[in-house]
Symmetry: C2
Subunit: 157 residues, 2 copies
């Protein structure tokens, strides 16, 4: 039997585990579990969590299964002028524990994101996914997202 997945707002205590999930899910250089656990304790993550919380417009969530954090995502609220001021929501940093992929954790988080977006008054929900993640693309399309756009990135260092 697959344990129930619940999704809740992240707290500061979750940050090392969330950062480890992100490190394990890195698109081009994923870390193994031990390296990711070490990485997750870097103080930069706690500082970044403070900035997310202080913003008021960015919401970090975790998925729990049997008392363990097994997934994470962020939902950001973006006001804009288009469509007579339709608020956009951007889903970012969607990551599931590699040992649990395909078990419904991601779907539970995305259903949560859609419900949360409605509560936050979001009229258009969007996300981008690396072109090499073809499984993720089918996953998002099954959830009802339209793959309508090209996603562009530029690193500024």
């Amino acid at each position: 039997m697959i344990p129930v997945v619940s999704v809740r707002a992240a707290t500061a205590a979750d940050v090392p585990r969330i950062a480890a999930l992100i490190a394990m899910g890195h698109a081009s250089a994923p870390m193994d579990a031990a390296a990711a656990e070490t990485e997750g304790r870097h103080p930069a993550y706690a500082e970044a969590f403070e900035r997310i919380t202080a913003s008021g417009a960015n919401h970090l969530f975790v998925a729990e299964q049997a008392g363990r954090v097994v997934g994470t995502y962020q939902l950001s609220v973006l006001p804009g002028l288009a469509e007579r001021g339709r608020t956009r929501g951007k889903i970012e940093s969607v990551h599931v524990d590699p040992s649990l992929r395909g078990s419904g954790v991601g779907a539970a988080m995305m259903r949560h994101a859609i419900a949360e977006a409605r509560v936050l008054g979001i009229g258009l929900l969007e996300l981008s996914s690396n072109k090499n993640r073809t499984d993720a693309h089918r996953f998002y399309e099954r959830l009802g997202f339209a793959r309508s756009h090209e996603g562009f990135k530029m690193v500024l260092d």
Copy 2:
């Protein structure tokens, strides 16, 4: 001789013209100039501008040429945990007066966006562009953006 393009922060007085540029540039149902001018005066746009300004994290800009607003874009600042708390910037609602497309207004705005992003401490700049806008895709690639992601959208009404 092509007049110089300058880019500056938008003010409340610019909102009807910005909204008209957005309406003329709508991906699936672009308005003609007269309809867009009427649309731009809808009070919902002034209210949305207040939300953008109040957020502190979303910045609306206009491009001017010979004293006339000929383009607009928005830059949104998104804190996150990934990459030890790298701040993301999202470029949205990039629109140029249809009569001036291809004249360098968009490039001036995107060079401004990249400079502004650095000032705002953004480490990763991103945007998405409708798949049917192939000219825009080549434009963004020439500016140095990598077309690395698939962009997904879901309208919530």
